[in-house]
Symmetry: C2
Subunit: 193 residues, 2 copies
DNA sequence: AAATAGGATTGATATAGATCAAGAGGGGGG
DNA sequence: CCCCCCTCTTGATCTATATCAATCCTATTT
Protein backbone atom coordinates (compact mmCIF):
# COMPACT_ATOMS: atom_id res chain seq x y z
CA UNK A 1 0.00 0.00 0.00
CA UNK A 2 2.89 2.39 0.57
CA UNK A 3 5.05 1.43 -2.39
CA UNK A 4 4.33 4.37 -4.60
CA UNK A 5 4.58 6.89 -1.78
CA UNK A 6 7.95 5.54 -0.65
CA UNK A 7 9.25 5.53 -4.17
CA UNK A 8 8.07 9.11 -4.59
CA UNK A 9 9.73 10.20 -1.36
CA UNK A 10 12.97 8.37 -2.01
CA UNK A 11 13.35 10.08 -5.31
CA UNK A 12 13.63 13.39 -3.44
CA UNK A 13 15.15 12.64 -0.04
CA UNK A 14 16.53 9.56 1.68
CA UNK A 15 14.89 8.00 4.69
CA UNK A 16 16.14 5.27 6.98
CA UNK A 17 14.20 2.02 7.36
CA UNK A 18 13.01 3.03 10.82
CA UNK A 19 11.76 6.38 9.57
CA UNK A 20 9.86 4.72 6.78
CA UNK A 21 8.16 2.40 9.22
CA UNK A 22 7.31 5.32 11.45
CA UNK A 23 6.01 7.26 8.49
CA UNK A 24 3.30 4.70 7.87
CA UNK A 25 1.72 5.39 11.24
CA UNK A 26 0.70 8.91 10.22
CA UNK A 27 -1.38 7.85 7.25
CA UNK A 28 -4.80 6.31 6.91
CA UNK A 29 -5.08 3.90 3.97
CA UNK A 30 -8.42 3.90 2.24
CA UNK A 31 -10.12 2.61 -0.90
CA UNK A 32 -12.64 4.53 -2.96
CA UNK A 33 -14.84 3.39 -5.79
CA UNK A 34 -15.63 5.27 -8.97
CA UNK A 35 -17.69 8.47 -8.54
CA UNK A 36 -17.30 8.46 -4.76
CA UNK A 37 -16.68 11.83 -3.16
CA UNK A 38 -13.43 12.33 -1.30
CA UNK A 39 -14.24 15.95 -0.49
CA UNK A 40 -17.38 18.00 -0.98
CA UNK A 41 -17.49 21.72 -1.58
CA UNK A 42 -18.44 23.43 1.67
CA UNK A 43 -16.92 20.84 3.98
CA UNK A 44 -13.53 21.59 5.50
CA UNK A 45 -10.76 19.65 3.77
CA UNK A 46 -9.55 17.39 6.57
CA UNK A 47 -7.00 15.40 4.59
CA UNK A 48 -4.28 15.69 2.06
CA UNK A 49 -4.59 12.68 -0.20
CA UNK A 50 -1.82 10.67 -1.82
CA UNK A 51 -2.95 8.45 -4.66
CA UNK A 52 -1.40 4.97 -4.71
CA UNK A 53 -3.64 3.60 -7.42
CA UNK A 54 -6.44 4.86 -9.66
CA UNK A 55 -7.25 8.50 -10.29
CA UNK A 56 -8.98 11.39 -8.54
CA UNK A 57 -9.84 14.86 -9.73
CA UNK A 58 -10.62 18.18 -8.08
CA UNK A 59 -13.09 20.56 -9.65
CA UNK A 60 -15.22 23.58 -9.01
CA UNK A 61 -18.89 23.91 -9.89
CA UNK A 62 -19.95 27.39 -10.97
CA UNK A 63 -23.34 29.09 -10.61
CA UNK A 64 -24.51 27.63 -13.92
CA UNK A 65 -23.67 24.11 -12.78
CA UNK A 66 -20.63 23.78 -15.04
CA UNK A 67 -17.68 21.80 -13.74
CA UNK A 68 -14.24 23.31 -13.99
CA UNK A 69 -11.52 20.77 -13.45
CA UNK A 70 -8.64 22.05 -11.38
CA UNK A 71 -6.46 18.98 -11.18
CA UNK A 72 -6.18 15.36 -12.21
CA UNK A 73 -4.41 13.13 -9.71
CA UNK A 74 -3.35 9.70 -10.97
CA UNK A 75 -1.13 7.37 -8.91
CA UNK A 76 1.89 9.13 -7.46
CA UNK A 77 0.14 12.48 -7.06
CA UNK A 78 -1.08 14.46 -4.09
CA UNK A 79 -4.42 16.19 -4.09
CA UNK A 80 -6.40 18.39 -1.69
CA UNK A 81 -7.92 21.82 -1.34
CA UNK A 82 -4.72 23.22 0.16
CA UNK A 83 -6.33 26.43 1.23
CA UNK A 84 -9.14 24.77 3.08
CA UNK A 85 -6.76 22.21 4.56
CA UNK A 86 -4.47 24.91 5.85
CA UNK A 87 -7.03 27.33 7.18
CA UNK A 88 -9.92 25.07 8.08
CA UNK A 89 -12.32 27.13 5.95
CA UNK A 90 -14.98 25.35 3.85
CA UNK A 91 -13.55 23.80 0.70
CA UNK A 92 -14.29 25.48 -2.61
CA UNK A 93 -13.56 22.34 -4.60
CA UNK A 94 -15.10 18.95 -4.91
CA UNK A 95 -12.79 15.97 -5.12
CA UNK A 96 -14.06 12.70 -6.50
CA UNK A 97 -12.92 9.45 -8.03
CA UNK A 98 -12.45 8.88 -11.77
CA UNK A 99 -10.96 5.40 -11.46
CA UNK A 100 -11.34 3.08 -8.50
CA UNK A 101 -8.58 4.22 -6.17
CA UNK A 102 -6.36 3.30 -3.25
CA UNK A 103 -5.19 6.33 -1.34
CA UNK A 104 -3.34 7.45 1.77
CA UNK A 105 -4.89 10.17 3.88
CA UNK A 106 -3.11 12.43 6.31
CA UNK A 107 -4.75 14.96 8.61
CA UNK A 108 -3.40 18.36 9.54
CA UNK A 109 -2.40 17.33 13.08
CA UNK A 110 -0.83 14.08 11.83
CA UNK A 111 1.10 16.10 9.28
CA UNK A 112 2.45 18.41 11.98
CA UNK A 113 3.46 15.44 14.12
CA UNK A 114 5.10 13.81 11.15
CA UNK A 115 7.14 16.90 10.35
CA UNK A 116 8.28 17.05 13.99
CA UNK A 117 9.13 13.36 14.11
CA UNK A 118 10.87 13.15 10.74
CA UNK A 119 12.43 16.51 9.91
CA UNK A 120 13.60 15.29 6.52
CA UNK A 121 9.96 15.26 5.52
CA UNK A 122 9.95 19.02 5.84
CA UNK A 123 12.38 19.01 2.96
CA UNK A 124 10.30 16.56 0.98
CA UNK A 125 7.22 18.72 1.39
CA UNK A 126 9.16 21.79 0.39
CA UNK A 127 10.39 20.17 -2.80
CA UNK A 128 6.93 18.86 -3.51
CA UNK A 129 5.41 22.32 -3.13
CA UNK A 130 8.16 23.82 -5.23
CA UNK A 131 7.50 21.43 -8.07
CA UNK A 132 3.76 21.94 -7.96
CA UNK A 133 4.35 25.66 -7.95
CA UNK A 134 6.47 25.44 -11.05
CA UNK A 135 3.89 23.46 -12.95
CA UNK A 136 1.17 25.89 -11.86
CA UNK A 137 3.23 28.80 -13.11
CA UNK A 138 3.67 27.12 -16.44
CA UNK A 139 -0.02 26.45 -16.64
CA UNK A 140 -0.80 30.09 -16.02
CA UNK A 141 1.75 31.30 -18.54
CA UNK A 142 0.19 28.83 -20.94
CA UNK A 143 -3.40 30.02 -20.48
CA UNK A 144 -2.25 33.63 -20.79
CA UNK A 145 -0.27 33.19 -23.98
CA UNK A 146 -1.64 30.33 -26.03
CA UNK A 147 -4.89 29.33 -27.61
CA UNK A 148 -7.00 26.21 -27.71
CA UNK A 149 -5.06 24.05 -30.15
CA UNK A 150 -1.63 24.77 -28.73
CA UNK A 151 -2.88 24.28 -25.19
CA UNK A 152 -4.26 20.89 -26.08
CA UNK A 153 -1.07 19.81 -27.80
CA UNK A 154 0.99 21.01 -24.86
CA UNK A 155 -1.11 19.02 -22.45
CA UNK A 156 -1.00 15.70 -24.26
CA UNK A 157 2.72 16.13 -24.85
CA UNK A 158 3.39 16.60 -21.15
CA UNK A 159 0.74 14.24 -19.78
CA UNK A 160 0.24 11.43 -22.28
CA UNK A 161 -0.76 9.02 -19.47
CA UNK A 162 -3.58 11.29 -18.31
CA UNK A 163 -4.83 12.28 -21.74
CA UNK A 164 -5.65 8.67 -22.56
CA UNK A 165 -7.47 7.93 -19.35
CA UNK A 166 -9.99 10.73 -18.87
CA UNK A 167 -13.11 11.49 -20.89
CA UNK A 168 -12.56 14.19 -23.44
CA UNK A 169 -15.02 16.65 -21.96
CA UNK A 170 -13.08 16.67 -18.70
CA UNK A 171 -9.90 17.35 -20.54
CA UNK A 172 -11.64 20.24 -22.23
CA UNK A 173 -12.73 21.60 -18.88
CA UNK A 174 -9.20 21.30 -17.50
CA UNK A 175 -7.88 23.19 -20.50
CA UNK A 176 -10.45 25.93 -20.09
CA UNK A 177 -12.53 25.26 -23.20
CA UNK A 178 -15.86 23.62 -24.01
CA UNK A 179 -16.12 19.99 -25.13
CA UNK A 180 -17.33 21.19 -28.52
CA UNK A 181 -14.26 23.32 -29.00
CA UNK A 182 -11.92 20.49 -28.06
CA UNK A 183 -13.71 18.18 -30.46
CA UNK A 184 -13.23 20.67 -33.29
CA UNK A 185 -9.61 21.26 -32.37
CA UNK A 186 -8.94 17.55 -32.60
CA UNK A 187 -10.69 17.32 -35.95
CA UNK A 188 -8.47 20.09 -37.28
CA UNK A 189 -5.40 18.27 -36.05
CA UNK A 190 -6.44 15.04 -37.76
CA UNK A 191 -6.82 16.82 -41.07
CA UNK A 192 -3.35 18.29 -40.78
CA UNK A 193 -1.67 14.94 -40.33
CA UNK B 1 18.29 46.14 4.70
CA UNK B 2 17.02 42.88 6.21
CA UNK B 3 14.06 44.25 8.14
CA UNK B 4 11.30 43.13 5.83
CA UNK B 5 12.81 39.70 5.27
CA UNK B 6 13.18 39.07 9.00
CA UNK B 7 9.67 40.22 9.66
CA UNK B 8 8.43 37.94 6.90
CA UNK B 9 10.33 34.97 8.28
CA UNK B 10 9.36 35.59 11.87
CA UNK B 11 5.73 35.60 10.95
CA UNK B 12 6.10 31.95 9.92
CA UNK B 13 8.85 30.44 12.07
CA UNK B 14 10.99 31.64 14.96
CA UNK B 15 14.73 32.11 14.68
CA UNK B 16 17.28 32.83 17.36
CA UNK B 17 19.39 35.99 17.24
CA UNK B 18 22.46 34.00 16.21
CA UNK B 19 20.60 32.31 13.38
CA UNK B 20 19.35 35.63 12.10
CA UNK B 21 22.87 36.98 12.04
CA UNK B 22 24.07 33.89 10.24
CA UNK B 23 21.21 34.14 7.79
CA UNK B 24 22.46 37.48 6.53
CA UNK B 25 25.67 35.95 5.28
CA UNK B 26 23.89 33.92 2.61
CA UNK B 27 22.35 36.89 0.88
CA UNK B 28 23.70 39.51 -1.47
CA UNK B 29 22.06 42.94 -0.99
CA UNK B 30 21.65 44.94 -4.15
CA UNK B 31 19.89 48.03 -5.48
CA UNK B 32 18.24 48.34 -8.85
CA UNK B 33 16.87 51.35 -10.66
CA UNK B 34 13.68 51.55 -12.68
CA UNK B 35 13.61 49.49 -15.88
CA UNK B 36 16.78 47.64 -15.02
CA UNK B 37 16.80 43.92 -15.83
CA UNK B 38 17.19 41.50 -12.95
CA UNK B 39 16.90 38.48 -15.23
CA UNK B 40 16.75 38.17 -19.00
CA UNK B 41 14.98 35.46 -20.90
CA UNK B 42 17.51 32.91 -22.08
CA UNK B 43 19.96 33.41 -19.22
CA UNK B 44 19.92 30.90 -16.40
CA UNK B 45 18.19 32.27 -13.31
CA UNK B 46 21.06 32.40 -10.81
CA UNK B 47 19.19 34.00 -7.94
CA UNK B 48 15.99 33.95 -6.05
CA UNK B 49 15.15 37.54 -5.22
CA UNK B 50 13.53 38.93 -2.09
CA UNK B 51 12.19 42.45 -2.46
CA UNK B 52 12.88 44.75 0.51
CA UNK B 53 11.71 47.91 -1.18
CA UNK B 54 10.22 48.92 -4.53
CA UNK B 55 8.64 46.53 -7.01
CA UNK B 56 9.72 44.00 -9.63
CA UNK B 57 7.73 42.04 -12.16
CA UNK B 58 8.26 38.86 -14.17
CA UNK B 59 6.86 38.52 -17.66
CA UNK B 60 7.04 36.54 -20.85
CA UNK B 61 7.34 38.00 -24.31
CA UNK B 62 5.50 36.04 -27.00
CA UNK B 63 6.30 35.69 -30.70
CA UNK B 64 4.29 38.83 -31.52
CA UNK B 65 6.28 40.85 -28.99
CA UNK B 66 3.43 41.10 -26.50
CA UNK B 67 4.33 41.05 -22.82
CA UNK B 68 2.43 38.71 -20.54
CA UNK B 69 2.91 39.54 -16.90
CA UNK B 70 3.34 36.52 -14.70
CA UNK B 71 3.90 38.15 -11.31
CA UNK B 72 4.19 41.47 -9.54
CA UNK B 73 6.60 41.49 -6.60
CA UNK B 74 6.35 44.49 -4.26
CA UNK B 75 8.26 44.63 -0.97
CA UNK B 76 7.93 41.46 1.08
CA UNK B 77 7.65 39.18 -1.95
CA UNK B 78 9.98 36.64 -3.52
CA UNK B 79 10.45 36.42 -7.25
CA UNK B 80 12.42 34.24 -9.68
CA UNK B 81 12.01 31.84 -12.54
CA UNK B 82 11.80 28.87 -10.18
CA UNK B 83 12.12 26.35 -12.94
CA UNK B 84 15.25 27.85 -14.36
CA UNK B 85 16.68 28.40 -10.88
CA UNK B 86 16.10 24.79 -9.96
CA UNK B 87 17.26 23.14 -13.15
CA UNK B 88 19.80 25.59 -14.50
CA UNK B 89 17.98 25.75 -17.85
CA UNK B 90 17.62 29.11 -19.64
CA UNK B 91 14.94 31.30 -18.11
CA UNK B 92 11.70 31.71 -20.00
CA UNK B 93 10.82 34.93 -18.19
CA UNK B 94 12.25 38.39 -18.00
CA UNK B 95 12.34 40.07 -14.63
CA UNK B 96 12.72 43.83 -14.40
CA UNK B 97 12.14 46.75 -12.11
CA UNK B 98 8.92 48.75 -11.95
CA UNK B 99 9.93 50.91 -8.99
CA UNK B 100 13.47 51.57 -7.82
CA UNK B 101 14.22 48.61 -5.61
CA UNK B 102 16.35 47.20 -2.84
CA UNK B 103 16.59 43.45 -2.97
CA UNK B 104 18.32 40.45 -1.43
CA UNK B 105 19.72 37.82 -3.75
CA UNK B 106 20.47 34.22 -2.91
CA UNK B 107 22.12 31.70 -5.20
CA UNK B 108 21.30 28.02 -5.48
CA UNK B 109 24.45 26.87 -3.60
CA UNK B 110 23.98 29.52 -0.91
CA UNK B 111 20.40 28.36 -0.53
CA UNK B 112 21.51 24.76 -0.04
CA UNK B 113 24.09 25.83 2.52
CA UNK B 114 21.52 27.92 4.29
CA UNK B 115 19.05 25.05 4.53
CA UNK B 116 21.83 22.86 5.96
CA UNK B 117 22.95 25.48 8.45
CA UNK B 118 19.50 26.60 9.59
CA UNK B 119 17.09 23.68 9.26
CA UNK B 120 14.17 25.82 10.39
CA UNK B 121 14.47 27.61 7.07
CA UNK B 122 13.43 24.41 5.36
CA UNK B 123 10.11 24.89 7.09
CA UNK B 124 9.92 28.55 6.13
CA UNK B 125 10.54 27.71 2.50
CA UNK B 126 7.94 24.97 2.62
CA UNK B 127 5.30 27.32 3.99
CA UNK B 128 6.29 29.96 1.48
CA UNK B 129 5.90 27.52 -1.41
CA UNK B 130 2.64 26.29 -0.01
CA UNK B 131 1.20 29.78 0.14
CA UNK B 132 2.35 30.65 -3.36
CA UNK B 133 0.86 27.42 -4.58
CA UNK B 134 -2.48 28.28 -3.05
CA UNK B 135 -2.60 31.68 -4.65
CA UNK B 136 -1.61 30.19 -8.01
CA UNK B 137 -4.40 27.65 -7.74
CA UNK B 138 -6.88 30.39 -7.05
CA UNK B 139 -5.62 32.35 -9.98
CA UNK B 140 -6.09 29.39 -12.28
CA UNK B 141 -9.56 28.65 -10.95
CA UNK B 142 -10.31 32.31 -11.49
CA UNK B 143 -9.15 32.46 -15.11
CA UNK B 144 -11.04 29.25 -15.85
CA UNK B 145 -14.34 30.32 -14.35
CA UNK B 146 -14.71 34.09 -14.48
CA UNK B 147 -14.72 36.81 -17.03
CA UNK B 148 -13.00 40.12 -17.43
CA UNK B 149 -14.99 42.30 -15.04
CA UNK B 150 -15.11 39.82 -12.21
CA UNK B 151 -11.42 39.04 -12.59
CA UNK B 152 -10.55 42.70 -12.33
CA UNK B 153 -12.71 43.22 -9.28
CA UNK B 154 -11.23 40.14 -7.64
CA UNK B 155 -7.74 41.40 -8.21
CA UNK B 156 -8.17 44.89 -6.82
CA UNK B 157 -10.05 43.47 -3.85
CA UNK B 158 -7.19 41.15 -2.98
CA UNK B 159 -4.30 43.39 -4.01
CA UNK B 160 -5.32 47.00 -3.48
CA UNK B 161 -1.70 48.01 -2.87
CA UNK B 162 -0.57 46.64 -6.23
CA UNK B 163 -3.52 47.88 -8.27
CA UNK B 164 -2.70 51.47 -7.40
CA UNK B 165 0.97 51.25 -8.23
CA UNK B 166 1.22 49.64 -11.65
CA UNK B 167 0.19 51.07 -15.03
CA UNK B 168 -3.17 49.86 -16.15
CA UNK B 169 -1.95 48.05 -19.24
CA UNK B 170 0.28 45.84 -17.11
CA UNK B 171 -2.61 45.00 -14.88
CA UNK B 172 -4.56 44.06 -17.98
CA UNK B 173 -1.75 41.80 -19.09
CA UNK B 174 -1.58 40.14 -15.68
CA UNK B 175 -5.31 39.53 -15.80
CA UNK B 176 -5.09 38.04 -19.27
CA UNK B 177 -6.93 40.75 -21.19
CA UNK B 178 -6.00 43.65 -23.46
CA UNK B 179 -5.59 47.21 -22.15
CA UNK B 180 -8.61 48.24 -24.22
CA UNK B 181 -10.76 45.63 -22.58
CA UNK B 182 -9.68 46.66 -19.10
CA UNK B 183 -10.37 50.28 -19.91
CA UNK B 184 -13.90 49.40 -21.03
CA UNK B 185 -14.46 47.20 -18.01
CA UNK B 186 -13.56 50.08 -15.72
CA UNK B 187 -15.84 52.45 -17.61
CA UNK B 188 -18.72 50.03 -17.14
CA UNK B 189 -17.99 49.81 -13.43
CA UNK B 190 -17.99 53.60 -13.07
CA UNK B 191 -21.40 53.84 -14.68
CA UNK B 192 -22.82 51.27 -12.31
CA UNK B 193 -21.80 53.19 -9.21
C1' DA C 1 6.13 77.06 -24.75
C1' DA C 2 6.88 73.38 -27.97
C1' DA C 3 8.10 68.72 -28.60
C1' DT C 4 8.03 64.09 -27.20
C1' DA C 5 6.65 59.84 -25.16
C1' DG C 6 4.01 56.68 -22.48
C1' DG C 7 -0.44 55.84 -21.03
C1' DA C 8 -5.49 55.72 -21.43
C1' DT C 9 -9.72 56.12 -23.92
C1' DT C 10 -12.95 55.42 -27.66
C1' DG C 11 -14.98 53.63 -31.89
C1' DA C 12 -15.36 50.20 -35.71
C1' DT C 13 -14.62 45.70 -37.01
C1' DA C 14 -13.01 40.82 -36.74
C1' DT C 15 -12.72 36.35 -34.56
C1' DA C 16 -12.01 32.53 -31.35
C1' DG C 17 -14.64 30.17 -28.83
C1' DA C 18 -19.26 29.73 -26.35
C1' DT C 19 -23.83 28.39 -26.60
C1' DC C 20 -27.83 26.05 -28.40
C1' DA C 21 -29.67 22.17 -30.65
C1' DA C 22 -29.71 17.88 -32.86
C1' DG C 23 -28.01 13.57 -33.98
C1' DA C 24 -24.71 9.49 -33.79
C1' DG C 25 -22.23 5.79 -31.89
C1' DG C 26 -21.61 2.39 -28.32
C1' DG C 27 -21.56 -0.25 -24.59
C1' DG C 28 -23.84 -2.52 -20.54
C1' DG C 29 -28.21 -4.02 -18.10
C1' DG C 30 -32.66 -5.77 -18.28
C1' DC D 1 -32.41 -7.46 -28.71
C1' DC D 2 -33.70 -3.12 -27.31
C1' DC D 3 -33.33 0.77 -24.38
C1' DC D 4 -30.95 4.09 -21.74
C1' DC D 5 -27.07 6.66 -20.47
C1' DC D 6 -22.98 8.77 -21.65
C1' DT D 7 -19.88 10.71 -24.65
C1' DC D 8 -18.59 12.66 -28.82
C1' DT D 9 -19.54 15.07 -33.10
C1' DT D 10 -21.44 18.50 -36.20
C1' DG D 11 -23.87 22.61 -37.65
C1' DA D 12 -25.90 27.30 -36.88
C1' DT D 13 -25.73 31.17 -34.32
C1' DC D 14 -24.10 34.50 -30.68
C1' DT D 15 -20.93 37.09 -27.77
C1' DA D 16 -17.01 38.49 -25.16
C1' DT D 17 -12.91 40.01 -26.18
C1' DA D 18 -9.17 40.93 -29.54
C1' DT D 19 -7.51 43.80 -33.03
C1' DC D 20 -6.79 48.01 -35.57
C1' DA D 21 -6.68 52.85 -35.66
C1' DA D 22 -7.29 57.39 -34.11
C1' DT D 23 -7.32 60.76 -30.28
C1' DC D 24 -6.49 62.51 -26.00
C1' DC D 25 -4.02 63.33 -21.74
C1' DT D 26 -0.36 64.18 -18.74
C1' DA D 27 4.33 64.45 -17.43
C1' DT D 28 8.91 65.16 -18.82
C1' DT D 29 12.43 66.98 -21.72
C1' DT D 30 14.35 70.62 -24.55
Amino acid sequence: MFEILFEHINRKISLQEAEMEQLKTFFIPKKYRRKQYVLQQGDPCKYIVFVEKGMLRSYQVDDKGNEHIVQFAPEGWWISDSYSFLTGTPASYDIDVLEEAEVLLITQPAMEEMLQAIPAMERYMRILMQNSLISMQRRIACTLTTQAEERYLGFIAENPHIGQRVPQHMLASFLGMTPETLSRVRKQLLKKS
